[in-house]
Amino acid sequence: MSSTEIPTPLVDADAGTREIVTGNKKPRTGDKPKPRILLTILMGIIAVAWLFPLLGLLITSFRSKADVDATGWWTVFLNPFGTDWTMENFALAWDALDVGQTFWNSVAVTVPATVLPILVAAMAAYSFAFLQFRGKEIYFAIVLGLMIVPVQIAIIPVLQLFVWFGNTTGIQIIGQYPAAYIVHSTFALPLAIYILRNYMQTLPTSLIEAARVDGASHFQIFWRLIVPMSVPALASFAIFQFLWVWNDFLVAYIFIQSGPNAVMTQGLYTLMGQYGQGWQRVAAGSFITLVVPLVIFFALQRFFVRGMTAGSVK
């Protein structure tokens, strides 16, 4: 992956103030900021070293099994044309991962597990930010406290709950998508409410009061005023949640299990267990699973960073 192809600025929200700051910040170097070659080289070394593990994985995924077993991946730099480059690993890994199925399973788990908690959390955040009711502080403190409850706590009781539900109603939840997105959604709620409420708190109350005077209901205000104005916070949390759920292994492993609904990380885990058949295949499989998170990441990191830093920087 060439670094020059990265299109989106990482910190963008404060670009305006930044220009002023860089202008003043370098009085020692005169009026024009110098290119700072040494610093660039140093940072370049750090950044390349940081991506070194992934580079190895990428190169390995294009080599033949014989080559991977015989020499380290870095030897291709000495002899790039003596290497037996191949796309075959991707075809093998594609089948081993059962991408045609697991990819859609991942979509089926991730999309609801991203959309639903955000909707529900945004409503709750609205009431924390704009409505007055008794015990508001206590409720919010409880939400804060729940932020750190580990998902492990849900495993035994929720499994039992699902089994009980299945036995009583005849509807088996375990192994189905809803099992995973109920758990993912619930455990995302506290953090989502916290972030969204902090953001909504910064919106002007006068606007809501004016809308109330005009006869708008809270539902209309929420939907027509607050949601459009909260897009940066909503988007950044959505991206966060999407990546978490897409990359999750534990919840899927326990609640969806390795049936027909298994997600991609489970496929990759299984593939990893078969690395006796060659690293190149596991490497190719890893890259297949990386595509979606990387696309999301590069396409949306602008919003991601803006929303994330909006709440934290005062």
């Binding site: 990265i6 600025p9 990482l10 910190v11 103030t17 930044r18 910040k25 700072r36 660039t40 940072m43 750090i46 950044a47 593990p53 994985l57 015989a70 020499t71 380290g72 870095w74 199925q101 859609w104 089926a108 999309v111 609801p112 639903l116 529900v120 959390a121 409503m123 709750a124 009431s127 409505l131 502080e137 919010f140 750190i148 580990p150 998902v151 492990q152 035994i156 009781p157 709950l161 998508y177 997105y181 758990v183 619930t186 709620l189 409410i193 990359n247 292994f249 534990l250 990380t265 990893m272 690395y275 690293w279 596991v282 490497a283 890893s286 699973t289 990387l294 994330m308 934290s312 005062k314």
Partner: protein
């Protein structure tokens, strides 16, 4: 088709919840003002209260009760109350004490490592042009997008071991044999000075540094220019400027980042599980929970492990609530 069922479930889920909100809101808008103000918040909070009560609070209470129970070995028989036996078993087991020590190391090393490297990158890139800054930051941030399992694959390829005589295709051993001329080392099995744990911790530092860097970088840019100028006029060196002007101003962000990563580390499961399965003294609480539940078929003890995990993070709840209250009083 899974994609179809995903779309349908989103539409149904969103549609039904919107309808419920709308209907409840419509009803309440028609009641008297007094009731309106009282009931409305609970309409907006309702779904959260229901979900959290069923899938968060109930499991927490249930786990607490389970931790005092012992599952019967015979089928069909229910669990019996055993008091603190599960906890006593855990805390008299040298293995578990080793796991606790490991966890302590994890929560110190990983957040510290991520914050320090993130800070370093944030400062260095801050002095470069916008384009270079963006490029380098994206490169450091990239591992954030990777799943724990994919990260494990990536780092297995670095840490694994090929016996002597075989070609060294694993980076670390290739480097080791080439530089020292000695035999390759099975790194992940060496628990002397917790070497294998530290190697796994580094993977998580690698994954989390990007997050730390983004927030710290934003905080550094948020330091008012006047304070920096004033310090410069007073003749502060760059180093002193950083240590005594910038660092104190971004202390809040540093702490927030540290705690966020600490919470991630406490719950961490997949990396350790995929690297060693918790063997060779590398286990942490979340992995031990899994081992107790599924490998040893001992749900009572597993519940006790989660309670230990909860109690260990409890001070952070107190801290979170306190800082929230302080923030509320300021407004």
């Amino acid at each position: 088709m899974p994609i179809l069922s995903a779309i349908i479930s989103v539409i149904i889920g969103v549609g039904v919840s919107l309808l419920i909100f709308w209907a409840a809101n419509w009803l309440i808008e028609r009641t008297g003002d007094k009731w309106k103000a009282r009931l409305l918040p609970y309409v907006f909070l309702g779904p959260v209260i229901i979900l959290v009560a069923i899938f968060l609070l109930y499991p927490a209470i249930r786990t607490l009760i389970d931790s005092f129970m012992q599952q019967s070995q015979r089928r069909g028989e229910s669990a019996s109350f055993v008091g603190f036996d599960n906890y006593i078993d855990l805390f008299t087991d040298p293995n578990f004490l080793g796991i606790l020590l490991n966890n302590v190391l994890w929560v110190i090393v990983v957040p510290t490592g991520a914050v320090l490297i993130g800070l370093l990158v944030a400062i260095l890139t801050d002095r470069l042009g916008k384009r270079r800054e963006t490029t380098f930051k994206s490169m450091i941030f990239l591992p954030m997008a990777i799943s724990g399992v994919a990260a494990a694959v990536t780092w297995r390829f670095i840490y694994f071991y090929a016996p002597p005589g075989n070609p060294q295709i694993y980076s670390l051993n290739a480097f080791w044999t080439a530089v020292t001329g000695q035999d390759p080392v099975p790194w992940l099995t060496i628990d002397t000075a917790r070497l294998n744990s530290f190697l796994i911790m580094f993977i998580v530092v690698w994954l989390q540094t990007g997050f730390a860097m983004v927030l710290l970088s934003a905080a550094i840019k948020g330091v008012p220019e006047e304070t920096i100028e004033a310090a410069r006029l007073d003749g502060a060196t760059e180093r002193k400027l950083f240590l005594s002007v910038i660092i104190p101003q971004i202390r809040g962000t540093i702490l927030a980042v540290f705690i966020t990563i600490l919470i991630v580390v406490m719950k961490l499961f997949d990396i350790v599980y995929a690297m060693t399965g918790g063997q060779y003294n590398t286990s942490v609480l979340a992995v031990e929970f899994y081992a107790q539940l599924f490998s040893f078929q001992n749900p009572g003890k597993a519940a006790a492990v989660v309670m230990v995990l909860m109690i260990a993070i409890a001070p952070l709840i107190v801290y979170q609530v306190r800082s929230y209250k302080a923030q509320e009083e300021l407004r």
